[in-house]
Point group: C2
Chain length 195, copies 2
């Protein structure tokens, strides 16, 4: 089952590298955020990785592309610097680099808050695969909604069952096809729930 396999791959091939401390060079995600907070003088109300799953599977290169440009006073999101990168030798690639992006959410008149967020890249990859029917005819008849819900449900289960990763990651489903929704507000709502 493809969605289930993708969740295992995303967890084992990525989250296990970026969330827990490795007891050696990498201090772990939460501590990485704390160090960023004190160095950059910013506040992360929630010190977890926000993984965004969009309804269309399309993921913009920069999350600011979700901002509602026509609403002046709406909250908005903008990239800051990256958190400290993790470097490790993986499957023959020496010093492969894993890094997460810190984003700032502006919500005048209150002060901005930071969040570590990104889309699940392999869903964006799947999006591109489904769009290119010539090259990938083999995947022509997949049901994308099933894959997304299998992926999201399986990923939540695996994270909850993992002592090293549980509580370090939030999966956020965002309906990017709904013109009423403002991405920055969706994030703020989830932050308020967790805080």
């Amino acid at each position: 089952n493809y969605g289930v396999g993708m969740a295992c791959s995303f967890f084992e091939g990525y989250l296990t590298h970026v969330l827990p401390s490795d007891g050696a060079r990498f201090v772990g995600f939460e501590e990485n955020i704390r160090r960023f907070e004190s160095k950059q003088g910013v506040v992360f109300p929630v010190k977890k990785l926000f993984v965004i799953v969009t309804k269309s599977l399309f993921s913009p290169p920069d999350l600011k592309q979700f901002n509602k440009t026509n609403r002046e006073e709406a909250s908005s999101i903008e990239a800051c610097r990256s958190l400290d990168a993790i470097e490790k030798d993986v499957a023959g690639v020496r010093n492969r680099i894993y890094k997460n992006t810190a984003y700032k959410i502006y919500r005048a008149p209150r002060r901005p808050v930071c969040v570590a967020a990104e889309c699940a890249t392999l869903l964006h990859t799947l999006y591109r695969v489904t769009k290119n029917r010539d090259l990938y005819e083999v995947l022509a008849d997949v049901n994308v909604d099933d894959i997304v819900s299998d992926f999201t449900n399986t990923l939540r289960k695996i994270i909850a069952n993992s002592p090293e990763c549980r509580g370090k990651c939030e999966i956020i489903y965002f309906d990017d096809t709904d013109p009423q929704l403002n991405f920055a507000d969706v994030l703020l709502d989830r932050i308020r729930e967790i805080e």
Copy 2:
């Protein structure tokens, strides 16, 4: 079909980033190698990316771990520096880094040659998933040999059908369970075939 999906994901989510020129900042894999050759004063007889698929799916962090340590005069492989990295914004991760490792093959008394090689990381991820039955019970009954052959066959087809990537990548199947085989020699044989 999981092996087929993995090949599509590996191609669309990785090979399309590292092989072709993007017409902007990235000059393409072959030119990247040529620049490395002139800067480092080394020779790459084959200017393609060697993607290694092992029989066991296990991929060591550094390919030198395949060397036969008990045979003094056997050819051996050692990592050099990485090729120039590719940086792009992908699915909300700003400046995500993709980089390949150059390896040197020593084959006394002839002069060493360089090759850009790595294992298919997602097969190593699958290896780790199959080994952790508690966390990933869902994938408990997969047939690993089927997945590997579907992956390898599909990937070869996709690469051959892609104008941007054909001829830029060699898939090498290596039986790491056979104590007679020396990995460095397997690479040298393939280089000699292609040269």
